[in-house]
């Protein structure tokens, strides 16, 4: 078989994750992001534009594409009535890569926009966190097609979806201490009411909002499952906008109170960010800074970002830095700091490189792997190789091959076998394991795929830094 062509999302530049709503569809042409609208979709968009809400800074910047719009006739069932052009989000991320506060902030944006919409006789037709993206630490609502005109007697159609993809995942971590990310990655639709009920104890039903949104919800769902027509008509007769607004406000208060904090040890380690005093740390800073400033790096990935120390340095010379760490704790704290600073350049995400986000959804293309969303120009892999090689058992050469497959420049740190951290990781392992974890073998592997431009052994002598560029061809 030839090389996989997963980088071409789907024929004619269609966004493979945008097919559920028949009134609008996202596609790409050149570097631009467009959205084709059906006649109904256009009428909804015009209502949104007229309401003034389109100018809200929480919405992705959007304009009518006009005459210059690419003609894509088979995007929708019928000929599109109009085409919109959207601002491009630097790096797409998914809720199963977000931390608790990121999902919570996205939920609040969703609810606040819904309230703002209702105020203008509009509504959001769904409530999925995939409609929210992050520009650095700022959530942005990207699904302009989600706004539509409110119909008389219509209930909150997205309520169930809100529970499944926002409320339940947040409750899972907040009440049970169970990370929601594997659950969201495991199911594109989230956690159902009956599944959530099964995860809660008897005592939980007395907590605020739980009885109604989980226990009663699951029970009613089972009871009315086979009577959708009857129910819809009844609901339509009695449902009022006031009730809608009251329910959304109540949900907002519930979500606002939800809380989660990383364990004590994470705070301590995170707090040490600015207290490095040793020479090693200073020289490492300088090394990274020099590379970061050597040119205008577009997209940087900082893999194993921990408290974001090097992401921040990299941001001095990059448009966007994606800061990745397998541990949600430090990423959560980094997000909170970046949010407080109003940062829009560093995107903190939680992801385990040894088990990264795969392609998911319909055809495995709706949600994409990180490299399919935009290859980096520079990768930082500091204090990472030993964890990957020793803890996750990834052979050194495989790791270097993977770096090379990204086609980007690389700053990588190799801690030798004498390094205290490496000794600690090797301690529980059988003697003689990881024979490939040797400095000269690493250097040979690196040299096969990369042109090493600079290297520096840090003062302590157990850590070596490299700046390398990929070999051409």
């Amino acid at each position: 078989m030839s090389a996989p062509d997963t980088h071409t999302p789907s024929p004619a530049g269609l966004e493979p994750g945008s097919f559920r709503d028949p009134e609008s569809r996202v596609f790409y042409a050149g570097d631009e992001v467009y959205r084709a609208l059906s006649p109904d979709g256009l009428a909804d968009f015009e209502a949104l534009a007229e309401s003034g809400l389109l100018e809200d800074e929480r919405l992705v910047h959007t304009e009518q594409a006009g005459d210059g719009a690419p003609a894509l006739h088979d995007v929708l069932v019928h000929k599109p009535a109009a085409v919109l052009r959207h601002e491009r989000i630097p790096f797409v991320s998914y809720p199963y890569e977000w931390t608790f506060s990121m999902l919570k902030d996205a939920a609040l944006v969703q609810l606040d926009l819904l309230l703002a919409a209702l105020d203008r006789d509009l509504v959001l037709k769904d409530s999925t966190p995939y409609n929210v993206q992050f520009k650095g630490a700022r959530p942005v609502f990207v699904d302009i097609g989600s706004f539509e005109r409110l119909r008389e007697g219509e209930p909150w159609v997205g309520y169930r979806q809100f529970c499944m993809l926002y409320l339940y995942p947040l409750l899972l971590l907040s009440l049970k201490g169970v990370p929601f990310q594997p659950w969201l990655r495991g199911s594109i639709d989230g956690i159902t009411p009956s599944q959530m009920r099964g995860l809660l104890s008897f005592r939980d039903r007395f907590r605020r909002g739980i009885f109604t949104n989980v226990f009663l919800h699951a029970r009613l769902e089972r009871r009315y499952a086979d009577r959708p027509d009857q129910v819809k008509e009844e609901v339509r007769r009695v449902f009022k906008k006031e009730l809608f607004v009251a329910n959304v406000r109540k949900m907002r208060r519930l979500v606002e109170r939800l809380d989660w904090n990383p364990p004590e040890g994470v705070w301590t380690a995170y707090g040490e960010r600015n207290t490095y005093t040793d020479d090693d740390a200073r020289r490492k800073d300088d090394f990274v800074r020099e590379v970061a400033r050597s040119r205008d790096w577009g997209l940087v990935w900082d893999i194993g970002c921990n408290n974001g120390r090097y992401s921040r340095i990299a941001a001095e010379g990059a448009r966007t830095v994606v800061a990745l760490d397998a541990d949600q704790g430090p990423v959560e704290l980094l997000y909170r700091d970046l949010r407080a600073e109003g940062d829009e350049r560093i995107l903190p995400l939680t992801m385990n490189l040894a088990d990264p986000s795969p392609g998911l959804g319909w055809r495995g293309l709706e949600r994409r792997s990180p490299a399919d969303r935009g290859k980096p120009d520079l990768v930082l892999a500091l204090a990472l190789v030993h964890h990957m090689s020793i803890s996750a058992n990834v052979p050194v050469r495989e790791l270097v091959d993977w770096f090379a497959s990204l086609g980007s420049a690389l700053v990588v740190e190799f801690p030798t076998r004498e390094d205290p951290m490496v000794r600690k990781l090797l301690a529980p392992k059988r003697e003689g394991l990881h024979p490939d974890y040797e400095l000269d073998f690493f250097e040979r592997s690196l040299g096969e795929a990369f042109e090493v431009e600079r290297s520096e052994r840090l003062e302590s002598g157990t850590r070596v830094l490299y700046f390398a560029r990929p070999k051409r061809g």
Binding site: G158, Y159, N213, E242, A246, R249, K250
Partner: protein, 64 residues
């Protein structure tokens, strides 16, 4: 007109729940109002300015 035209299935139970939840909110607000009135009547609680809006949850938004 046909009934709700959404591409997303709102779920029958989920719709019923919204009515019940809304109903409970209305009952709670009414009860709170009467409780305050009773407290005022018994002079346990001092008069509050009428601008305070305890019926927040049950009111629509008609401001522009």
């Amino acid at each position: 007109m046909t009934i709700v035209l959404a591409y997303l299935d709102p779920g029958s139970g989920s719709m019923i729940l919204q009515i019940i939840a809304g109903g409970l909110a209305a009952v709670a607000v009414t009860a709170k109002l009467y409780w305050r009135r009773l407290m005022k009547f018994l002079r346990i609680r001092k008069d509050e300015p009428e601008t305070a809006n305890p019926a927040d949850t049950a009111r629509g938004t008609d401001s522009g």
